[in-house]
């Protein structure tokens, strides 16, 4: 009888461990996809920023500033990314605030695309931050720490976004 009970307990424990591991794996996957999505959108924004820098909207000085910020954002590591992107947001914000005379069709299209992209980036950031906080929370559970269920998956880093540039 005792033997059966112990066997049952072991089976239960094994099930729970594999269940927890699956759960963590799934969460890490969620972080990866939400980051891939956000990263893609941010890359597009940097590309648009460079196009704006080359267009009629910007004077040479702000073109330089914008190009510099865009390159910095593109080359930043994951940890420094949000800060670099905030720099790009700032540069775009200054430019758009000061240039009220956007007239050409191409320029208007650029600005509209940027505006739509900003909306999407806000949503993507919300999705990513949620996935990251959730994962960090579950990683902290004692069972996952003791049994190292997260394996070699890197600790996800959160992304701070000072969103309202446009």
């Amino acid at each position: 009888m005792k033997f059966i009970l112990i066997l049952f307990a072991l089976a239960l424990a094994a099930w729970y461990l594999s269940y927890s591991a699956t759960r963590l794996d799934r969460l890490h996957h969620r972080v990866e996809t939400s980051w891939a999505n956000l990263d893609g959108l941010l890359q597009r924004r940097a590309a648009i920023a460079i196009e704006i820098a080359r267009s009629e909207i910007s004077d040479p000085a702000s073109a330089m500033l914008l190009t510099f910020a865009a390159h910095q954002a593109r080359e930043a590591s994951v940890r420094d990314r949000s800060q670099a992107e905030t720099g790009l947001s700032g540069a775009l914000g200054i430019l758009l605030e000061t240039s009220s005379h956007i007239s050409g069709e191409i320029e208007k299209d650029l600005i509209r695309e940027l505006r739509e992209l900003t909306e999407k980036i806000k949503m993507a950031v919300a999705m990513h931050v949620d996935a990251v906080t959730r994962t960090q929370l579950v990683r902290k559970k004692w069972i996952n720490r003791i049994f190292r269920l997260a394996g070699t998956a890197p600790e996800p880093v959160t992304y701070e976004f000072e969103g309202d540039v446009l």
Binding site: R30, T33, S34, A126
Partner: protein
């Protein structure tokens, strides 16, 4: 919208043939997406499986359970679960959209059974309930599978943050704003009139709050008239009203969409005295889009829909005196009334399906990044193998 066509699965938790806000939202969304060329399949409980539209699959007969202060017709259990699994494995979906996945329903079952790009929409805006504390440990691992969460209002988002400690993107419910934009003024309904649309027999629609407010309104506005549209037994409703007041009521029964647009554009005030159980308040969005000046109870859903009073007037829920004061003030000041109605009309264009469905589709796309479609989750696959079932 992009050219690539997707296979989209939508799960409706409530009985398809019972009228309700969530159901009509899903119906409109599914039809819109089909119109855009996507393949859409809706899984829903249904009583009458014969008369379902072609894109709806029945998951079985719903059972009525009391939930959140109303009777919810939902479905769960082993047979429903196997139908859900079957639907997911046969559907070959690119993305699964689950509505109200945090209540005991096929949406929750689908969230449990599926893996891949999952999007959840939360409709309910409810105060904290004690029972939810007990179920959170079960719910959390299931809900956290969702790649993206949508809340239909700020109130629903707050409910979600409070209950499940997770954030959501706010995308409102949709209306066909173009249907309501150009309602014609109809002399029958203009002047000092109050409009009300809904199943007035249901206590939570709050018609009695309006009836109780009437004597106080009459002392200030003697020629006030009330028009009520919607299905129900008007003879029964009239019995509840004092004989002296009965002549002021006109029951019109069901009205067509076109009449509804004209009606909303014509009435002096549109009143929504609902006492609760509303998740969004689609009728208020329609009233605003038609240019009506709206007075609504301050339940969470209406409060957030009306921008805390920016786009319509709020009164304290179930307080007839407060309602009477607000009605009299507005009917006496037609300039203020028109101004607020115009603000509301501009604002309500954001609820148009063209805007809303695009936003929802954006969320789908974000959830689909890097995903290879929806499959049964690994737990279920192992479980099925153990029981010798086919997935």
């Amino acid at each position: 919208m992009p050219l690539s066509k997707k296979r989209i699965g939508i799960v409706c938790p409530y009985g398809w043939d019972t009228p309700g806000g969530v159901q009509s939202h899903i119906r409109d969304l599914a039809e819109y997406l089909i119109g855009e060329g996507h393949f859409v399949s809706v899984l829903a409980p249904a009583i009458d499986e014969e008369s379902l539209p072609p894109y709806v699959t029945s998951a079985g007969r719903p059972i009525a359970i009391p939930y959140n202060g109303a009777v919810a017709r939902v479905l769960f259990g082993p047979i429903a679960f196997s139908r859900v699994r079957h639907w997911i494995s046969q559907g070959n979906f690119d993305v699964l959209h689950l509505h109200e996945p945090a209540i005991p329903s096929i949406s929750l079952l689908a969230c449990w059974a599926a893996e891949g790009p999952l999007v959840g929409t939360f409709h309910a805006a409810a105060k904290r309930q004690k029972v939810s504390f007990a179920v959170i440990p079960f719910l959390e691992p299931v809900i956290e599978k969702l790649n993206a969460r949508i809340a239909v209002s700020e109130a629903a988002r707050e409910t979600l943050t409070e209950h499940l400690d997770t954030d959501a993107i706010v995308v409102p419910n949709g209306i066909y704003a173009s249907l309501y934009r150009d309602g014609k003024i109809d002399e029958r309904w203009t002047g000092n009139t109050i409009g009300f649309i809904g199943r007035f027999e249901e206590p939570r629609k709050g018609l009695s709050v309006l009836i109780d407010a009437l004597p106080a309104i009459i002392t200030q506005i003697p020629d006030i008239k009330i028009f009520i549209a919607g299905p129900g037994d008007s003879a029964d409703a009239l019995k509840e009203i004092q004989p002296a007041l009965r002549s002021r009521f006109t029951f019109m029964g069901r009205i067509s969409e076109e009449e509804k647009a004209n009606f909303l554009a014509s009435v002096g005030l549109y009143i929504a005295p609902n006492t609760g159980g509303e998740s969004f308040g689609i009728i208020l969005a329609e009233a605003l889009a038609a240019g009506a000046s709206v007075v609504a109870s301050d339940i969470p859903a209406f409060d957030s829909l009306l921008g805390h009073g920016e786009y319509g007037t709020l009164f304290e829920s179930e307080n007839s005196q407060d309602l009477a004061i607000k009605v009299v003030a507005l009917l006496k000041d037609s300039a203020a009334r028109k101004e607020i109605a115009q603000r509301g009309k501009n604002y309500a264009q954001a609820f148009d399906w063209d805007v809303v469905a695009d936003k929802i589709y954006d969320v789908y796309q974000m959830a689909m990044v890097g995903g290879n479609g929806v499959t049964l989750s690994s737990e279920n696959r192992a479980w099925n193998k153990l029981l010798g079932r086919q997935g």
